[in-house]
């Protein structure tokens, strides 16, 4: 995905994570900006299903050729499913960060937290200060 884009149906955490919320279940991933900053992703280390994650706290590691980065949970809850396909094709995080490159599905423990996340416009606005 060569051009920056931030789908309007997602909610965003300022640490460059997105959440696709469907009732009390949400899918997490990282934004186009995050994968662009990190470069070619070579490993994604998800925690096991059943792990509790907390909004704003790291829950996984994402590693590129040049660096390793913590992935922060945009919302709190329990991991229901992890994207196992990323162990064989981590490049999906670069190629399709909002689709094939998703990380985990989480049952939200506090769905009200969603209100504190940014919409696409606000998130994109927050990137202006980052030189984008």
């Amino acid at each position: 995905m060569p051009v920056a884009n931030y789908p309007s149906d997602l909610r965003y955490h300022p640490d460059h994570d997105w959440a696709r919320v469907d009732g009390d279940v949400a899918t997490f991933g990282v934004t186009w900006y995050a994968q662009e900053q990190l470069g070619e992703v070579v490993f994604f280390d998800p925690p096991p299903v059943g792990t509790q994650v907390s909004k704003g706290r790291p829950y996984a590691e994402l590693e590129s050729v040049k660096a390793v980065s913590d992935v922060v949970a945009p919302l709190s809850g329990e991991i229901l499913e992890v994207n196992e396909a990323l162990s064989d094709s981590p490049e999906a995080v670069n190629q399709d960060p909002y689709g094939e490159g998703w990380f985990v599905k989480v049952r939200l423990s506090d769905p009200v937290e969603v209100d504190s996340l940014l919409d696409a416009d606000a998130y994109e606005g927050s990137l202006q200060g980052a030189g984008q």
Binding site: D15, Q37, L38, E40, E61, V65, S69, G129, A130, G131
Partner: protein, 365 residues
């Protein structure tokens, strides 16, 4: 994620517009705005191993030393034997403090009997200039900062020489030689048979206003632009040192495995300390390693039982994590298993021989 500082504070090379036209990701590096990558680190890395890549390395410093005492003076400041360099040759060397701590690693070109160019690391250029200038007292030499007079392009890979050779009328200087040539219609290009990728190739020093012409001709000839990201993975596969990672003022040449470019008999600054370290043997040694259980160790990761990783990345050619680390001298033997604490998880690795990627058995995918 790093916030990008104000780009207007950074120095730019004369090739900035070329990088932008190629879609480069530009990042701050040692006070310069430099291309990190164009198409991707692995892709660019493989392009250099299989064909030819070109790097804008105009951020590197250039110091000219000339005058009657130029050789004697550099013999004092540089660790290698400058007197062994005949006109038109190049030499890798170090600048050391009195206590043997490494100030910088440099390439020096002897252009004439009493005129030398020394290429410094961008981050060390100011420090080196001050050091060299300070020690020039008492010698009949002139030390000049020539960084603004040159752009520098490295063309590297098995096809690099052929590609540049087609743009010149005369044969290119051999490895570790230097000569002035007309390249792609640009006169007075200093062609150096050097590089830092583990591949054959040349480095070109050219007037800044001619850099774009040269870049365009090389691009036309089939050289792929390569950024600092792949420059790092290439030099690490070749086990070449990077100042700030493997080399620093608190470590000496012997522990860094650079005793071969220190000639104590020349009485260089720091020679006494280097000789003492060579005789007693260092407590720790720099070793190349490869991970044996997947994943990648990174700079700063502790080696279990003592030591520290200085560089670590994914080797695009070998497909595994590789790196260099300082470990206790007794554990420096190739084949020795070591463990590295990678963010709290113990990962297995093995001490290897240099270079990590051997050019003799090319297997780069």
């Amino acid at each position: 994620m790093n916030r990008v500082p104000d780009a207007s504070q950074l120095a730019t090379t004369p090739l900035r517009d070329r990088h932008e036209a190629e879609g480069a990701k530009l990042v701050p590096f040692a006070g310069w705005l430099m291309p990190l990558q164009y198409t991707g680190i692995r892709d660019e890395h493989v392009a250099v191993r299989r064909g030819a890549g070109m790097f804008d390395v105009s951020h590197m410093g250039v110091v000219e030393t000339s005058g009657r005492d130029a050789e004697a003076f550099l013999q004092r400041v540089l660790t290698n034997d400058v007197a062994r360099m005949v006109e038109g040759t190049a030499q890798y060397s170090l600048l050391c403090r009195e206590d043997g701590g490494v100030l910088d690693d440099v390439f020096t070109y002897r252009l004439e009997a009493d005129r030398f160019l020394t290429i410094t690391n961008a981050a060390n250029h100011g420090k080196d200039l001050a050091w060299i200038g300070h020690h020039a007292e008492g010698f009949a030499v002139e030390v000049r900062d020539r960084i603004s007079d040159f752009a520098m392009l490295a063309v590297q890979g098995p096809r690099a020489r052929g590609l540049v050779g087609e743009m010149t009328d005369e044969p290119l200087p051999a490895r570790f030689h230097v000569a002035e040539r007309r390249v792609a219609g640009v006169s007075d290009v200093l062609v150096c048979g050097t590089g830092y990728t583990g591949e054959d190739g040349v480095e070109l020093l050219v007037a800044p206003e001619d850099a774009g012409t040269l870049w365009d001709a090389l691009r036309q000839g089939g050289a792929r632009p390569v950024g600092l990201g792949a420059r790092d993975t290439l030099r690490l596969e070749a086990c070449f040192h990077l100042y700030g990672n493997e080399l620093m003022e608190t470590r000496g040449p012997i522990e860094a495995g650079l005793g071969w470019c220190c000639k104590e008999e020349t009485d260089f600054i720091g020679s006494r300390a280097v000789r003492a370290m060579r005789e007693t043997g260092p407590r720790e040694r720099l070793i190349p390693f490869a991970m044996t259980d997947g994943r990648i160790a990174r700079p700063g990761n502790p080696v279990v039982g003592g030591g520290e990783v200085t560089s670590g990345t994914l080797s695009p050619c070998l497909g595994v994590g590789i790196g260099m680390a300082y470990v206790g001298s007794a554990r420096g033997i190739p084949g020795t298993p070591i463990e590295i604490d990678v963010r709290g998880r113990t990962r297995a690795a093995e001490v290897r021989t240099k270079p990590l990627y051997p050019k003799e058995t090319p297997t780069c995918p």
